[in-house]
Amino acid sequence: MSAVPRVAQAAALGRLPELPGAAYLFVLLAAGFALATPEFASARNLSNIGLQAAALMIVSFGMTLVILTEGIDLSLGAVLGLCGVVMSLLLVGQGAPLWAAVAAAMAVGIAAGLVNGALVAYAAMPPFIVTLGTYGMAQSLAMVLTSGHSITGLPAAVRWFNEGDWLGLPVPIWTVLLVFALTYLLLYHTRFGRYVFAIGGNRRALELSGVPVRAYLVAVYAYAGFLAALASFIMTARMNAGHPTIAIGLEFDAIAAVVLGGTSFEKGRGGIWGTVVGALTVALLRNGLNLIGLGTEWQVAVVGLVIVSAVAVDALRSRA
């Protein structure tokens, strides 16, 4: 209980938390990969990592909020895929204008989040089971809509989401910065943010003091769905195609990023600064493993170990 005021205080000030485990891992990995392969530290590869981390980081910010409320969203990768598919189908099949396709994809992401949030908050179902169910449904819809194929022939304008730049910075980086700023403001400078921390810290107390906890929970899941839609624009632009399984497993990397960043599954501890480091670490880990010749299958196993170890360390530390 004594931790709650401290967390709330840190939350209110929005100051940098103590360095999460990810920071050390990040430095170690960077040094290790740089020694192992000269290609790693090249400017080209480093900017590659930044671009690869962009979509992951955007999804991870949403996941951070969800996990702070002691929830989880396993559907985000599938929802992201569905958003990309809807946008692509509207652009290619219907010849819709870009703004309309983008708006429709955002609506899909938010709608998925609202469903998740409503089932978690109002039906009091466990978050992992709700989002596992919607994961299956979103994935299935994306496959049905595309018959399992890629949708190619997107208008050139879509590529701007990945390749465009403004004032010398690529659009994905701008998107990350904007999403970070928005999430930061929401989390540390609004009542919404204070309640997000408090829902994880002591939901009962919040309910007893008359806070509409359930409405806030729905908003958290909807925000995560909205961010998945934003990330889908970048990933679809990078693939230059709408693909139903484009982001399968991205929720897994996002969970890794969040827990590596020091956000805990219990008691509303953590924040988005840690998630920035966590997402960079995951992107770096995957990129480095790739360069030293370990394919996706190894990366998946390693990231799984990283998640479990990070949570185990957290659990052991909080028990000590």
């Binding site: 989880i72 396993l74 089932l119 039906a123 009091a124 179902m125 466990p126 992992f128 089971i129 709700v130 596992l132 169910g133 919607t134 994961y135 299956g136 449904m137 994935q139 299935s140 819809l141 496959m143 049905v144 018959s147 399992g148 497993g249 897994f252 969970i255 827990v259 599954f265 219990e266 996706t296 299958e297 190894w298 990366q299 998946v300 196993a301 390693v302 990231v303 799984g304 170990l305 998640i307 479990v308 949570v311 185990a312 659990a315 052991l316 028990r319």
Partner: protein
């Protein structure tokens, strides 16, 4: 603890009634929709499908009774099946079966240790294991397919005994064993107590940690066993084996009325859940609905089943 062990009759009645109604409705609708549905050939297909789904969901049921979850069952099934298949294809059937069961048991014990001794939430420990097992399965197989097993082994999945498919007999035997385990042994009753009231279970001196380790280990081993039956049935194994089965397994348990919050439910319910799922899949195939829709159906079934039980409990109990 007594209160936790005794199940609430109204809740049980609700589950039994709704599930019986679902089975009846499905059977009537499908019989009307297709003349092929009520043929003995098709009933064998349905029963075999239900048996496979039950085998995977059986271990998961025990885990969920303790208030936990095992998200790794599908991936562990795949990894164990691949390791077993590599040996079985070389003619080493006994070694292959043993290796598969050991791999499953080992994965399950790691899950159990993480949950019981380190205190990681079950969904996150087993979610990590899902990806570790999945990745190792791919690494092990390098994208290849192993096929062509000895007829003796294939009998486990594809054979018949007295006109009944072997998987159905195996599932029936397992159902009996687990039902006895749950209701007539100290271990089984303890699982209900641990799920119903963890604090009370610890305070009355039940070896909670040891039992948790055992139950996750059992879940892993049973997943591996299900994997063996699956590859014996299709006569092939690849790293994607079992990938789709997690949602199905959870759907079977939830449909069976076992509460995700622990302490309520049983293995007979899971058998009924598996049967309903087999009817749904069979019906979708018969009506010519694209297989892409199956994941949608599974997701919706999980959510609706849990939603129905949770809202019933909140409104009437």
């Amino acid at each position: 603890m007594i209160a936790a062990v005794q199940r609430l009759p109204a809740e049980v009645l609700f589950v039994v009634f709704t599930r019986a109604a679902v089975v009846a409705a499905l059977v009537i609708l499908l019989a009307i929709a297709s003349p092929h549905f009520l043929t003995s050939d098709n009933l064998v297909v349905i029963l075999r499908q239900a048996a496979l789904q039950f085998l995977l969901a059986a271990g998961l049921t025990l885990v969920i009774l303790t208030g936990g979850i095992d998200l790794s069952v599908g991936a562990v099934l795949g990894l164990a099946a691949c390791v077993g298949a590599a040996l079985i294809a070389k003619g080493l059937v006994v070694a292959g079966v043993a290796a598969a069961l050991l791999v499953g048991l080992a994965c399950g014990l790691v899950n159990g240790a993480l949950v019981a001794y380190i205190g990681i939430p079950a969904f996150i420990a087993t979610y990590g294991m899902l990806w570790v097992a999945h990745g190792l399965g791919y690494v092990f197989m390098k994208g290849e397919v192993i096929h062509g097993f000895a007829p003796g082994f294939r009998g486990l999945g594809a054979g018949f005994l007295g006109g009944i498919p072997v998987p159905v007999l195996v599932a029936g035997a397992l159902l009996l064993v687990l039902h006895v385990l749950l209701h007539l042994t100290r271990f089984g009753r303890a699982l209900y107590a641990m799920g119903g009231n963890p604090d009370a279970a610890r305070l009355v001196g039940l070896p909670v940690k040891k039992y948790l380790l055992a139950v996750y280990g059992l879940s892993g081993a049973l997943a591996a066993f299900a994997g063996l039956v699956v590859i014996a049935r299709v006569n092939a194994a690849d790293s994607g084996t079992g990938e789709e089965l997690l949602l199905t397994a959870i759907a079977a348990v939830c449909l069976g009325g076992t509460s995700l919050f622990g302490g309520v439910g049983g293995i007979v319910g899971t058998a009924v859940g598996a049967l309903i799922l087999a009817l749904v899949v069979n019906g979708m195939n018969m009506l010519g609905i694209a297989t892409f829709w199956q994941a949608f159906a599974m997701g919706a079934i999980v959510i609706l089943a849990v939603l129905a039980d949770v809202s019933f409990k909140r409104r009437f109990l």
